[in-house]
Amino acid sequence: MRYTRAAILKLVRDRDFGKRLAEMGSRRAKEFDIGRTVKKTFEIYKQVLKERF
C-alpha cells in the first residue's frame, strides 16, 4: 500500500515528471496496436490450416 501511495503522491507533486512518463508511455502504447495483434493471429491461423491441408 505504501508503494502505491508514494507513487501517486509523486505524480501529484511533480507534474513535469508525470508529463515525461506520459509522453514515453504514449510512444510505448503504439507497440500494442490492434493491427499487430490481428496480423499475428491470422499468421497463426494460416499456419494451422496449412498443417491441416
Partner: protein
C-alpha cells in the same frame, strides 16, 4: 439465438456450464451446420466447452486456444486433459501467460505469444466525455486518479482504497474514480463508506466506452495482484496518462520504468 452482423458473420450465444453437458452438444450441432475452418477459444470456459464439442464431431476443425491470465492452470481432470490433447496451437497474450502453459507441459513449439492490442488512434484522439466529470462531482482543481478494472479480488481495489484514505488526508485536491463491473462491487462500495471516502472516491460501472473515460483522469493506477497483460493499462498509456501499476504477471512486459511507475506487489 443466432444474430447476423451485416448479413455475413453469424453469432450464437451459449451459457457456459459448470459441468459442460448441454452446451457442448449444442455447439457441436452448430459447428456441423456452419462448418468453420478453425475454432478459436478466447477464455478457459470456451476452451473447455469447445474441446468437448469437438469430441462429438467426426471431422472437427482445429482448435486454437488463447490464454489471457497469468495464474496457474487449474488442476483436475479437465485441466489435465484439455491442455494435453486436441489443441492445434496456443496463443498466450504475454510471456507470463506462456509460463503458465509451460508449467502444465505445453511445449514452446505449440505456442506463440501474441500480445493483446487496442486501437491506439482511438485513444490518442479522444478528448473524453467532459460531462462525466460533473456527474462524478469533480472540480477543475481536482487531481483525478483513475482505475479501470473488474471488481475482483486479484485487481487489488482493497489496497487502492487504503492508499486513497491516506492520500486524501494528505492532499485535499485528490479524488479517485474506480470504474468496473464484478462480483466484489458491493464490497468496494461498502469499503468506500467504511473508510469515510464518500465524496472523495467515485465507484462507477462501465457505462460509456473506455476512450471517453480515460482522458478525464490525471493518472491511471492498476494495483493488481495478478495480470495477464491488461488492455486497460495499454489504453491508459495510449490516452497519454502517467501510469502506476503493480509489477505482476504480464504488466512489466508493457510498462517499463522508462514509461511508467512499477510498484512492488503487496
Amino acid at each position: 439465438m443466432i444474430h447476423e452482423i451485416s448479413g455475413r458473420i453469424p453469432q450464437a450465444t451459449f451459457a457456459f456450464e459448470s459441468i459442460p453437458t448441454v452446451t457442448p452438444i449444442r455447439m457441436s450441432h452448430l459447428l456441423s451446420q456452419w462448418k468453420p475452418d478453425i475454432l478459436h477459444a478466447q477464455t478457459s470456459k470456451a476452451h473447455t466447452h469447445l474441446w468437448i464439442a469437438r469430441k462429438l464431431l467426426n471431422n472437427a476443425p482445429p482448435l486454437i486456444v488463447s490464454r489471457r491470465v497469468a495464474f496457474p492452470v487449474s488442476g483436475g481432470i479437465w485441466g489435465y486433459l484439455k491442455y494435453r490433447k486436441g489443441i492445434a496451437h496456443y496463443i498466450p497474450i504475454s510471456q507470463a501467460a506462456a509460463r503458465t502453459l509451460r508449467e502444465v507441459g505445453v511445449s514452446k513449439e505449440m505456442m506463440t505469444v501474441v500480445p493483446s492490442g487496442i486501437d491506439v488512434d482511438v485513444f490518442r484522439q479522444s478528448r473524453g466525455d467532459q460531462r462525466l466529470l460533473k456527474q462524478w462531482g469533480m472540480e477543475p482543481e481536482h487531481f483525478v486518479i483513475g482505475s479501470v478494472a473488474a471488481f475482483e479480488k486479484e485487481k487489488g481495489h482493497a489496497v487502492l482504497l487504503r492508499a486513497a484514505q491516506r492520500i486524501v488526508s494528505e492532499c485535499q485536491g485528490c479524488r479517485f474514480v474506480l470504474i468496473g463491473e464484478g462480483r466484489l462491487r458491493t464490497e468496494v462500495d461498502n469499503a468506500v463508506t467504511d473508510l469515510a471516502l464518500n465524496g472523495k472516491v467515485v465507484v462507477e460501472s462501465m457505462r460509456v466506452p473506455l476512450e471517453r473515460i480515460l482522458p478525464l483522469f490525471d493518472c491511471f493506477v492498476l494495483p493488481s495482484r495478478d495480470e495477464g497483460l491488461s488492455t486497460a493499462l495499454i489504453a491508459a498509456l495510449a490516452s497519454g496518462l502517467p501510469v502506476i501499476a503493480s509489477n505482476v504477471g504480464g504488466v512489466p512486459e508493457v510498462l517499463t520504468h522508462e514509461c511508467g511507475i512499477l510498484v512492488q506487489r503487496y
